[in-house]
């Protein structure tokens, strides 16, 4: 586990830039805020001793998914949105539902006895994180792993079909 101030630093980084994703009018600024937010999240994963998950978070999200987002934004040539007439009733409704969700979560966490306990210590040598996850993944979860491979193949074929130009 990392020191307490580092936890709050990374949590604050993640939350501030997560809010910036929603607030920014320029899609490019939103996408870059999302990268910083995911870097903070990866640091939080590493603070939980989940090194493998933290590394693939950076590789897959900050590396692949965000490049895809930026590529599409540049391809479509999206500018900062012009101010439109805001539907105040719908906006207030959405904000109220989101706030109600957060109040519920904080109430449940506040009444959850185990949530107040600190994390149990790990033994000095937990072995290799990647090896442990790989062992579980390829023994207990072998069939779901194969199915997820088929899912990625289907997604690839679907993207190719979708991006074809229609020729009638």
């Amino acid at each position: 586990m990392m020191p307490v101030w580092l936890f709050w630093l990374f949590a604050l980084l993640m939350l501030v830039f997560g809010a910036a994703v929603v607030i920014n009018r320029n899609p490019v600024a939103s996408a870059l805020s999302l990268v910083v937010s995911f870097l903070g999240l990866a640091a939080l994963f590493i603070s939980l001793d989940a090194y493998f998950i933290g590394v693939i978070q950076i590789l897959v999200y900050a590396g692949a998914v965000m490049v895809l987002f930026l590529f599409i934004i540049m391809l479509l040539d999206l500018r900062a949105e012009k101010l439109r007439r805001i539907n105040w009733v719908a906006s207030a409704g959405g904000l109220a539902v989101a706030l109600a969700f957060f109040v519920q979560v904080s109430y449940v966490v506040g009444h959850f006895k185990a949530a107040a306990r600190p994390f149990p210590p790990l033994p000095k040598s937990t072995g290799d994180d990647v090896q442990n996850i790989g062992l579980v993944l390829f023994t207990n979860y072998n069939l779901p792993f194969q199915i997820i491979g088929v899912l990625v193949l289907v997604a690839t074929v679907g993207v190719i079909v979708l991006s074809q130009r229609e020729t009638r």
Partner: protein
């Protein structure tokens, strides 16, 4: 001392931001980014629970981390397909604003 509750609260706050973004923003690409924020908030709470439930061998519960691995894979596939749909939509309607895309068939 950082507790499990702190991680769960931070995760809930991140989910709330993603949810508010999906409800309030009208740009499809921003809505897709908000979906990513929500998926990652769920991942954070799963990893926190994984670290909290140390089993007999003294290792964290790796089942949750395998689940997070699957969620990241599915999220990557979802973004790829979603952005391809956005490009196809932009090609026929020249907009990514959801209020301009109110009709189901065009």
């Amino acid at each position: 001392m950082v507790t499990l509750g702190d991680y769960l609260l931070v995760s809930g706050l991140l989910f709330t931001m993603g949810f508010a973004g999906a409800m309030l923003r009208r740009n499809i690409i921003i809505i897709l980014m908000s979906l990513e924020l929500m998926l990652n908030a769920a991942n954070l709470s799963l990893v926190a629970f994984s670290r909290f439930r140390v089993d007999q061998t003294g290792l964290p519960n790796y089942n949750a981390q395998v689940f997070v691995f699957f969620i990241i894979t599915v999220a990557a596939a979802e973004v790829a397909v979603g952005l391809a749909i956005v490009v196809a939509l932009y090609r026929s309607r020249q907009t990514t604003h959801v209020e301009d895309l109110a009709s189901l068939k065009f």
